[in-house]
């Protein structure tokens, strides 16, 4: 029996908390000074160093089409498995295993020439058949990949020769290369991808000790630039305090994203550590079930948005860090519009809206709250804020797994808290079957049209319009944008700081010789 569980996809934190990601078009300054990379120091580095990365996101299994969670992207994307295209830490889509591509006039046929001389870790050469197999693995019926829907426009894949893949679409898809960056190219002869791997990346899997660590060693036959270290070990923790202690005591070299301002305080102004702020795409949401009363009423949703002081909440959770947002789109996306002025904190107008909606005396609702930080504390804040407009909140604490089955799959909820880590995930509001059940035909059309756009300007314009409507509708309540902060020992450098889509490229990390 192939055992798998829980495709949390990328929408939710099956693994705990979140991690930021961003697009290249970074124009806004975040709360901290932003730097897109930590540049390698000139000091001598040890080419065979072992780098230990501390993380809270242990994968559930080793297959990203089998619901392994965000942890597998962190460990495997571009380290063990490569894709036709690569989403860089800066947010550019660059060719990966593709050497050249051509697109037909109508935008419905993509022809990819594969990079020659690439081999899998098992020794098998990379062929077009492997690519076809890999894409179909993601779009297959039993696949739990979150990108399944984005690839649904693929109507056929042809392999005229070993080095050529032709992808035919039923409709234009401007994000096809972007979406293909999520598709791992695996050997079509590989067995048991749940517990082992066969990719083309710069590292091969050494050992996965469940509940503790996952180790990668350098692939000496790698086709591209060799890694600047010999081995990478992901050390997993369930508790953020234990993770901080591990970095403090030198047991790990890097924490990929710090989860509280209080732990940043431990590392800041300490010459032994480097604290870097990247660009975040992690949004804290109070998501309503827009299908059910009273949240099917726009006025109620807007009233709640106005009754909660997001700024005070952000300060409580993140101190001086983090950013306020007025919609689901972070400032670093091309289709960002500053919507923070929509439904700002205003208790009186919230009361007025509730009265108009027929809830002058308030109502009671159940808030499904994941049992890990910061959700329980956010829930308490919301509870006390909404009490001021006579809305009573019952906090219902659930595990990450219950969230997935009850909220995400069964849509059996009134309102919930969740962090959304994904890059470019506004498209979720164009899917009426998504867990929050937001259904505005205009938005659905706009998002569909943006994907079929002929160029990025048209795509951006359409998404900006959709974004504004979603915010005016208060489809959900977007509380704040997490900061994205990486802390490392000052002996290591060259790591990605944005952690885009949970990826963590390890091949450029250098550790100075001690």
């Amino acid at each position: 029996m192939t055992g798998t569980i829980i495709g949390f996809g990328k929408t939710a934190g099956q693994a705990r908390r979140a991690r930021g990601a961003t697009l290249a078009a970074a124009t806004l300054a975040l709360a901290l000074s932003t730097s897109t990379a930590v540049f390698a120091e000139d000091a001598k580095f040890d080419p065979n160093a072992s780098i230990t990365i501390g993380s809270l996101y242990e994968p559930q299994n080793l297959d990203n089409t089998a619901g392994a969670g965000q942890g597998i992207n962190e460990a495997f994307n571009c380290n063990v498995y490569e894709a036709l295209f690569t989403l860089t830490d800066a947010g550019d889509v660059q060719p990966g295993l593709v050497a050249e591509q051509s697109v037909s006039e109508d935008g419905l046929t993509y022809t990819f020439k594969l990079r020659p001389g690439v081999a899998f870790h098992s020794g098998d050469p990379l062929t077009a058949a492997d690519v076809k197999y890999s894409i179909e693995r993601v779009t297959a019926e039993q696949s739990k990949s979150s990108r399944k829907k984005s690839l649904s426009t693929i109507s056929a894949i042809e392999t005229p020769d070993d080095q050529t893949v032709v992808v035919k679409l039923s409709a234009r898809s401007i994000s096809l290369p972007y979406n293909l960056s999520y598709v791992w190219i695996v050997n079509d002869a590989a067995k048991d991808l749940n517990a082992s791997e066969d990719g083309t990346g710069p590292y091969r899997l050494d050992e996965w000790r469940r509940g503790s660590s996952l180790a990668l060693t350098r692939n000496d036959k790698y086709w591209g630039t060799a890694p600047t270290n010999g081995e990478v070990v992901f050390q997993y923790f369930t508790d953020a305090t234990a993770l901080n202690n591990a970095l403090l005591t030198g047991a790990v070299d890097i924490i990929t994203s710090v989860q509280s301002p209080d732990s940043i305080a431990q590392f800041k102004d300490n010459p032994d550590f480097t604290v870097t702020a990247g660009q975040s795409t992690t949004k804290q949401l109070l998501a309503f079930n827009d299908r059910v009363a009273p949240f099917d009423n726009v006025k109620v949703r807007k009233a709640i948005a106005r009754a909660i002081d997001d700024k005070k909440l952000l300060t409580s959770i993140w101190g001086e860090y983090g950013t306020l947002i007025g919609s689901f789109v972070p400032p670093t996306d091309p289709w960002y519009v500053d919507l923070t002025a929509v439904d700002t904190y205003d208790v009186e107008s919230a009361k007025a809206l509730l009265k108009e909606a027929g809830f002058a005396d308030g109502f009671t609702f159940k808030l499904d709250t994941p049992n890990y930080d910061p959700h329980p504390i956010v829930a308490q804040f919301i509870q006390s804020e909404l009490a001021k407009v006579n809305i009573k909140v019952e906090i219902n604490v659930i595990t990450a797994n219950e969230w997935y089955t009850k909220v995400y799959k069964a849509h059996d909820f009134q309102a919930t808290l969740q962090e959304h880590v994904n890059h470019r995930d506004i498209v979720f509001y164009g899917n009426p079957d998504f867990y929050w059940g937001y259904n505005n035909p205009k938005v659905v059309d706009l998002i569909k049209a943006s994907e079929a756009a002929a160029n990025t300007d048209e795509q951006t314009a359409k998404l900006k319009e959709a974004n504004t409507i979603i915010a005016e509708d208060a489809a959900s309540n977007w509380l704040y944008l997490y900061p994205q902060i990486v802390v490392s020992s000052s002996a290591v450098s060259g790591y990605p700081v944005n952690g885009l889509n949970s990826q963590f490229f390890a091949y450029g990390i250098k550790k100075s010789e001690q």
């Binding site: 055992g3 829980i6 299994n61 739990k144 749940n194 469940r210 503790s212 234990a242 202690n245 591990a246």
Partner: protein
């Protein structure tokens, strides 16, 4: 059977979002959750007899394999913690009973009072703060990747968790040792032995240990089982991949094969320890040898 009380169908684990009825039925067939409860139970019992604990829904790894890996952490941790607690509790317990009038006798029992009232994770966090973060004497957590291929590293990594278990369990054990010693001290046979001319230490060792040890051994059995199965909190504090954290994770993920597997192995361990404790008691006290099996009062 308790497992079936867990809400949700285990087949859920195999499904992706938006599965239709046919897919659901297929998944249920695959896991066997479409069968009546009693048939599921029979199936389960049958595979247990063959020591086949199945495959994890989540990781796709055989359950028994993962349990084996976890036991290489939990068993040494529990045994060393257990030994340390005996080393702490027995001498100090006897001392505090015999020298109850001296200041240190009182001090020992006061400290042990404190020891049994502190939550174990608090002790763990305190030890980490002092010995790992402040003085950098021991690692703050984690288990060496190569495990027992490098004994030194493992012992180093387990130092603080073992100390935590030793202290907390030692405190509770100490109270039993103390009270057992008091019982022995007040007993007629000890007085008789002394009246017959034996010196106090001689009498204590010859008669005291034999009589006092019997109840202690059954307490020890329970404490050992508690440490083996209840190390989940310690494992959390020190980020150790043990049996307890496997169960916690499996419960959270509704990974039924893993939950069943851990409970099965735990029950076996408990029975084994109980048997061991029984045997030890018989060795210590010849009077018990004739008693029928089963009466553990």
């Amino acid at each position: 059977m308790l497992l079936r009380l867990l809400p949700g169908d285990p087949a859920n684990a195999l499904l992706s979002v938006g599965a239709d009825a046919a897919q659901i039925e297929k998944a249920r067939e695959q896991v066997g959750s479409n069968l009546p409860l009693w048939q599921q139970f029979l199936r389960f019992a049958g595979s247990l007899a063959r020591f086949d604990l199945g495959t994890s829904f989540v990781s796709g790894k055989p359950v028994i394999e993962e349990i084996a890996a976890r036991l290489t952490v939990t068993v040494p941790l529990a045994l060393m913690g257990f030994l340390l607690s005996i080393l702490i509790a027995v001498p100090l317990g006897i001392l505090s009973a015999v020298k109850a009038d001296r200041w240190y006798g009182g001090l020992i029992s006061t400290v042990s009072q404190l020891g049994i009232a502190i939550p174990v994770f608090w002790v763990g966090i305190l030890l980490v703060t002092v010995f790992a973060v402040t003085f950098r004497l021991f690692p703050s957590g984690g288990f060496p990747r190569r495990g027992w291929q490098n004994e030194g590293q493992v012992l180093y990594a387990l130092a603080l968790p073992v100390l935590t278990i030793g202290l907390v369990m030692g405190a509770s054990l100490l109270r039993y040792v103390r009270s057992a010693t008091q019982d022995v001290l007040g007993s007629d046979y000890l007085r008789t032995a002394r009246a017959l001319g034996a010196s106090f230490p001689e009498a204590l060792v010859r008669h005291g240990i034999r009589n006092g040890a019997v109840p202690i051994v059954s307490i020890l059995g329970i404490e050992l089982a508690t440490t083996l199965l209840g190390a989940v909190v310690i494992e959390r504090v020190f980020a150790l991949p043990g049996l307890g954290s496997m169960l916690l994770l499996a419960i959270e993920q509704r990974d039924y094969p893993n939950v069943q597997g851990v409970l099965f192995i735990s029950t076996l361990l408990v029975l084994l320890i109980g048997f061991g404790a029984d045997l030890t008691q018989r060795l210590i006290d010849p009077r018990l040898r004739e008693r029928a099996v089963g009466g553990s009062a």
